[in-house]
């Protein structure tokens, strides 16, 4: 079964997947994604929900979205401090 994900979460899961795939050459992408989703869910960054088609899907949690927004703002501020 395919892991359905909304856009923001998919981006970060793909990033994480690229990051760890070298350490796990025997695992398929699907298996890596499953592992990442599970870690994200346990620490409260990803959550399951029913999408508009009534299928169980995954999305970034409100906490994760807030953290992303904070980091984006910090990065922008840091950039603005450069002459």
């Amino acid at each position: 079964m395919k892991h359905r994900m909304e856009k923001t979460l998919r981006f970060w899961v793909d990033v994480a997947c690229e990051h760890i795939k070298r350490d796990h050459p025997n695992l398929t992408k699907r298996q890596l994604v499953a592992q990442i989703l599970q870690q994200y869910e346990r620490r409260g960054d990803a959550m399951r929900y029913l999408n508009e088609h009534g299928k169980i899907a995954w999305k970034a949690s409100p906490r994760f979205l807030t953290t992303l927004a904070d980091s984006e703002r910090d990065a922008r501020d840091d950039l603005a401090e450069f002459p």
């Binding site: 994480a16 760890i20 499953a34 592992q35 599970q38 870690q39 029913l50 840091d78 950039l79």
Partner: protein, 175 residues
Amino acid sequence: MTNFEGMPSYFWLASSRVKEPIQDELPYGTQALRQDLLRVRNAWEECQASRKRDAIYTYLTAVFDLVAWWVAEDRALEHAHKALRLQRICPFDGEEPFAAIIRCTADPTKVDKRTRSKWSRMMRYALRYKSHSEPLDQFVKRKGGINKCASRFAKQLGKGPVVSCSRRKGHYTDL
């Protein structure tokens, strides 16, 4: 546009080593359940801190969304009772999932048994008749409000109309 280059390594992944056997199905463990309950409790705090009239829908939507996917997985009762046990609350006989999650996430001094029952009936009505794409608050308002939805659900079960209610200051006894 998001500047991902500036993001801390936190976002990449906490651990690059897979320590557990890989499964195809993703189990929903205790820690994941705790996180879900924490999110619903945060929604409760948020709606309590808000002065907006419709703030309660933030909380009701959080409860509804959580139980809805449990129902889709056909494990709602199991997860809801586990949630109660995690809070060291004993499940009532026949306590259904929406009521159980309200009991372990909302302040019991503000949400009494009758309100819990009414919200639970409203959500069971929405679960049955709402399309997946329509937000809960829109659906409920379109159907005449929380009381009306609860009443419709009760009528379907042949229990007759539900007592009409009014909101008391600071409490949801009769929203």
